[in-house]
Symmetry: D2
Subunit: 133 residues, 4 copies
């Protein structure tokens, strides 16, 4: 898997002259979208299968500040996978130094908002996630 | 009409330690929603009538910088109204000093995305906007 | 303590027609600023004392979706306080229903970026936080 | 000059399921930073010369909606240049179709916030901008 690169934008900085901490949650989404595309289960494919995976929780641990125009390299990994829940991990570095570690938890819903058993509905997707742990 | 107050948030500032200029476009939306509610044609009513009014253009002239935790007072006014187009003006002040003047242009569409003649479809709304010029 | 109210803005929603999950981290900051002001230790006072308290970690658990124009009521509480670290809790409700629970962790630094022992440097502030647990 | 590509992110969409109009002002900043770097007068160089060029005005004309995960190609051009003012133009396309045209106006200040005559202070930069019109 190729890590995702986010170049910090000027508008993502704040009065403390660093990247505002809320933006890392957005960088996580960017990296997650890219990760899913790399696995072959991008947004389009998920939509075609009629599955959405909303975020039900996040954690962020800020280790070092970053700022414009730093390039943040983000590695995504599968931390936990079950029939009803997925937990992803994020390791963000700038020039090899860890700046933030984070996680996001997701459930799986069909288009009517009902929970879906991923193992049964999308066994290929489930197996791929399990293997990439 | 009561002016709208936006209190600048920390996350709306940037590395220059001022409110990032892109955020004024968001303050305009907040003030517009409030203005429409005050006229009796809030978001819910518009939706019930099946009309949406997308933004087709904006202009912003930045006069003075603002920053956290300034309170920006925003006065909205109708600059132009025709059967197919609305142009609103925005005058933003902090402690009586003008910090930004701006405008937004809007068209009117029905739920299928087709242009709507506001004068015919919502004569009450049209007359109200015309009078408030 | 009076809870903080954040009215969800149109620009805070996303393609799923709900408030984008990253924005809750910003609502937390708004509520925290308000909480600190209510305790008498607002941003200005902290700055005068030469202390900054950067965010070193956050957690968010999303319970229910919200959307424009919901009013989110946010209660802030002190979860943990030590000489070198503060952890705040956030309980967000819409019409009495919990929509999100969250926490933020902070350290204390002086203007040179060096860690500060809050108990020694600002005993009044420390005691106030301890009492409000 | 190579055009700048902005890939629309999920968090940049809104309830109408399109890119929120305020975000184009941010895309303009991204493209401007890239344009300046390509001219050899990137952010670092400007800072070294002690010059900042705040945004004093913007205009945006929205032609077509975009959404996640569209790739917006942005061409930046010099519309006007004088000793005290710069106006840049932006042409944004998706798959060859114009989605937005825009402009930003800038003045030149030194580190004390005083206006600077660019022609005198940075003749090389001025000449480069004039030639690229």
């Amino acid at each position: 898997m190729k890590p995702y690169i986010h170049k910090v934008q000027y508008y993502e900085t704040d009065k403390m002259q660093i990247t505002h901490h809320s933006n890392y949650v957005r960088f996580m989404e960017e990296a997650r979208v890219d990760f899913m595309e790399q696995t072959g289960w991008g947004y389009d494919k998920m939509e075609m299968e009629g599955i959405i995976s909303p975020v039900i929780g996040i954690t962020c641990d800020y280790k070092k500040t970053t700022t414009f125009p730093d390039e943040i390299e983000i590695e995504v990994s599968v931390l936990e996978i079950s029939a009803v829940r997925l937990k992803l991990g994020y390791r963000m570095t700038v020039a090899g130094q860890v700046v933030c570690t984070a996680s996001s938890s997701h459930c799986f819903l069909n288009k009517n908002g009902r929970p879906v058993n991923l193992k049964k509905t999308c066994p290929d997707f489930y197996t791929m996630l399990e293997k990439s742990m």
